[in-house]
């Protein structure tokens, strides 16, 4: 990329490998021995009914949670470099973004400052990121008075400025109206085209159809199925995924095996 973008040119941290990762909280096993690898490239969507463990899986990947057993390993050559290692090369957008009590532009600049981007270089990156998500006009507006859709776009701008190699998104459109959701999806595709690996959860089938290259289907904390998007939606391999794709709610009728 262009000069003055110190976060860009380093060795990749992908692939990301999960090795028999489990997570327990309050004596309940919420993620059940998941083993999988995320490669650069395809947009990965994590699907599943509420309570399937989608958000937990994302937090385990991002490093916000430590697995109870198993390991989360960044296999790329860039992962070994520098303090903080891979944390600096991945970003996450939450269902409800937390905005600092300062202007929209200052929120983006804060993310850059935390990641060690020098003051001189921040201005241009902030401007570009806000431009990217269509918030340039609102740059000086306090972030907390922006609408929900604008705040989510600002969260994406914050991530964009960091130029992450991997972007995790946790149901980023769950609180938004259709127009705002559409804008967010467009920005996500912008990330994808710029070469950022997208890993996103959703419980919305329509959104998954629009965005997914591959699908991970979770149910009761287990990875039930992993398929390319085309085949997942047309001919799911497992009965659970089949029921989900046909719009039948899974969770009321199927208790988790170990509690049955």
């Amino acid at each position: 990329m262009t000069a003055g973008q110190p976060l860009a040119e380093t060795a990749p941290i992908l692939p990301l490998e999960l090795d028999r990762v489990s997570f327990e909280a309050g004596g309940r096993r919420l993620i059940e021995e998941i083993t999988l690898t995320f490669e650069a490239g395809p947009r990965t969507l994590i699907l599943g009914p509420n309570g399937a463990g989608k958000s937990l899986l994302l937090r385990l990947c991002h490093g916000l949670l430590r697995p109870t057993t198993g390991r989360v390993i960044w296999r790329g050559p860039g992962a070994a470099l520098g303090p903080g290692g891979p944390t600096r090369r991945q970003a996450m957008v939450f269902q409800r973004p937390v905005m600092l009590r300062r202007s929209a532009a200052a929120n983006v600049a804060y993310a850059l400052s935390v990641n060690g981007v020098r003051w001189k270089d921040r201005r241009a990156l902030v401007g570009e990121a806000l431009e990217r998500v269509g918030l340039a006009r609102l740059a000086e507006r306090p972030a907390r008075v922006l609408s929900a859709g604008e705040q989510q776009r600002l969260a994406l701008a914050r991530a964009w400025a960091l130029q992450p190699e991997v972007l995790f998104l946790d149901e980023p459109t769950a609180n938004l109206d259709p127009a705002a959701s559409h804008a967010v999806e467009r920005i996500i595709n912008g990330f994808h085209q710029a070469g950022t690996k997208i890993v996103m959860t959703t419980h919305e089938l329509g959104q998954a159809r629009r965005l997914a290259d591959e699908v991970l289907f979770l149910h009761w904390g287990r990875l039930v199925e992993r398929s390319p998007a085309d085949s997942f939606f047309t001919q799911p391999r497992t009965p659970e995924a089949d029921a989900f794709v046909r719009g039948e709610l899974l969770w009321p009728c199927a208790p988790p095996p170990e509690e049955a």
């Binding site: 937090r59 991002h62 916000l64 903080g84 944390t87 600096r88 970003a91 996450m92 939450f94 973004p97 937390v98 600092l100 009590r101 300062r102 804060y110 993310a111 935390v114 990641n115 306090p142 972030a143 907390r144 008075v145 914050r158």
Partner: protein
């Protein structure tokens, strides 16, 4: 009843005349309490935020102790500072006893726990909301602390005001370590106590009015500033 009216009238007379003795007392009171608040804020904000954010052994205990210290009786603080600063005490060499400096130290010790304990509460609540986002952005504990203190600034104004209220209203600590010496360590609260016991109700009431007006004025100003800023910032 007439006596009280007469005293009130005399009190307003003193205030309107800008009585020099009265002015001296008011200025010294403000100097002592504002300095004490500034020092206690410099100690209390980082201390409270650190206890809220850092995980270290004894953290719970410290939080409980701080909360307990919020109720420190001023006379006890006065006594402790007196012992520390008296000629025979460990800090006697500084010769601070019966000076405004000693009063500042005493008030600072009195309100630093209040500011720290309330700050801990504010920052802990904010952290619950901010934690994932800040950790995701890569902020370490030190950075998170600075960010939360800044984002909690509206609530923290109230915290500092609580400290100022306590400092400017207390009489026990400054009486013991200051000695209520005329033209030297006499502040509003000690003067009110003295003048009342002497039966000089006009001066006591006048000082009482000023003390209340100051407290109300400072709080009202802070409220308005906070309200306007908060509405702008969301």
């Amino acid at each position: 009843m007439d006596e009280i009216y007469a005293a009130a009238a005399a009190a307003f007379g003193l205030i309107l005349d800008l009585d020099p003795d009265l002015g001296e007392i008011v200025v010294l009171s403000l100097r002592v309490s504002l300095t004490a608040v500034a020092l206690a804020t410099a100690i209390g904000l980082p201390l409270g935020a650190a206890i809220a954010l850092f995980r270290f052994p004894g953290r719970r205990t410290m939080a409980v102790v701080l909360n307990a210290l919020m109720g420190l009786p001023p006379v006890v603080v006065g006594l402790i500072v007196y012992l520390m600063l008296s000629r025979a005490g460990p800090f006697g060499v500084f010769g601070l006893l019966y000076t405004p400096g000693a009063m500042i130290v005493a008030q600072c010790l009195l309100i630093a726990p209040i500011i720290a304990a309330l700050t801990r509460q504010v920052v802990e609540d904010l952290w619950a909301e901010y934690e994932e986002q800040l950790r995701s952005l890569g902020a370490g504990p030190g950075r998170a602390m600075a960010t939360l203190l800044r984002d909690g600034r509206f609530s923290l104004v109230t915290v500092v005001l609580a400290g100022f209220g306590r400092a400017s209203a207390e009489v026990g600590a400054v009486m013991i370590v200051g000695g209520n010496i005329d033209h030297l360590t006499r502040v509003m609260t000690t003067a009110i106590a003295l003048e009342t016991s002497k039966g000089n109700l006009a001066l006591a009431l006048g000082l009482g009015f000023i003390l209340m007006t100051l407290a109300l004025g400072v709080n009202a100003a802070a409220f308005v500033i906070k309200d306007v800023a908060q509405r702008r910032q969301g």
